[in-house]
């Protein structure tokens, strides 16, 4: 059984990645935060008796399921929104800007030019990742970002290992094509100086 300290360390380690992955999937920061917090609570509630080495797989599974639940709820909500949109409700996406939202942590200390270049590249990569079909994005994230092997990714996604390889290959080709179109070949990405 994992101790509370071990759980805390584990969550601290994965929370940022989980948040970003969820943002790419749901394209909404607030919803992504809710989903990640929900997944954290579910892990603590339902799997308190599990050892800490089982947490990565369990957490990823909970996260993916919570995202699916969100999509299901969103589908129903969208239906109502579409039905009611004819009444001409105002767009509520323009919320008050909070300066805390734009303060990055761990962003200082590097050359501003490199920072700018990196942030532009990131924006392109993020857009490309968001454009991927859900299964391809899930496979890419689990296989390469979460560093799972093909078997683990297949178990997580509930499909065959062959499907995982196909999804990953298509995802990387699509990403590479989009980046190439923006003038960002693999050499350009490597030159940004990020350890892989």
């Amino acid at each position: 059984m994992a101790s509370s300290q071990e759980l805390s360390d584990f969550l601290r380690d994965v929370e940022r990645r989980a948040f970003k992955q969820t943002v790419y999937a749901v394209r909404d920061d607030h919803a992504a935060l809710d989903i990640v917090q929900d997944a954290m609570l579910k892990l603590a509630e339902k799997y308190a008796d599990k050892p800490v080495n089982e947490y990565p797989m369990l957490f990823q599974r909970i996260l993916q399921n919570t995202m699916r639940d969100y999509w299901r709820r969103q589908k129903v909500r969208n239906l109502w929104t579409t039905l009611l949109s004819s009444f001409g409700a105002g767009k509520d996406g323009e919320e008050d800007h909070d300066p805390l939202d734009s303060i990055d942590v761990e962003g200082e200390g590097t050359n501003p030019a490199i920072q700018l270049e990196r942030s532009q590249t990131m924006r392109i990569i993020e857009k490309a990742l968001e454009k991927l079909p859900a299964r391809q994005r899930e496979a890419f994230v689990l296989r390469y970002w979460e560093d799972m092997d093909v078997a683990e990714t297949a178990a997580m996604m509930g499909c065959s290992q062959g499907s995982v390889k196909t999804h990953c290959s298509r995802a990387v080709h699509s990403l590479a094509a989009i980046l190439e179109k923006q003038g960002l070949g693999s050499r350009a990405i490597a030159q940004l100086g990020v350890e892989t």
Partner: protein, 136 residues
């Protein structure tokens, strides 16, 4: 020919993996740069999860109304509680039926006996009977 194809596909797989890892590396580095507000909210979520975890381990859980309850309390487990209630109802029904049957047979015995019902209420009647039988 086949070996060439195999080598080509292997190189292709390796280059895909390399490219994917480069992109994943960038994403990972970028994920570390979140706004302070987001980090604070993640921290709050983590703290809540750790609190729940500690309560789970100690055997105490928080109800929706904020009160504490023991996880081992059977009443918290709705299936066990409902099964227990059904069992209690069955047993209670059985006991009531038994007592009613017993009363009916007692009433029948009293009404069918040669002696008046008052004789059975009188505490001294049975010793009197025993005494007179012993005398005989």
């Amino acid at each position: 020919m086949n070996i060439d194809n195999l080598q080509e596909s292997e190189i292709d797989t390796q280059s895909i993996d390399l490219q994917a890892k480069q992109i994943a590396g960038l994403l990972d580095a970028h994920a570390k740069r979140l706004s302070m507000r987001t980090l604070k909210q993640l921290e709050n979520g983590r703290a809540r999860a750790v609190k729940v975890h500690a309560q789970q381990i100690s055997g105490v859980s928080v109800n929706h109304d904020g009160t504490l309850s023991s996880i081992s309390a059977w009443a918290d487990h709705h299936r066990i509680a409902s099964t227990g209630l059904v069992l209690v109802a069955i047993i209670a029904g059985f006991v009531i039926m038994q007592s009613l049957n017993h009363r009916e047979s007692s009433d029948a015995f009293l009404l069918g006996a040669d002696l008046p019902p008052e004789a059975f209420v009188d505490r001294g009647f049975e010793p009197f009977l025993n005494h007179s039988q012993a005398k005989l």
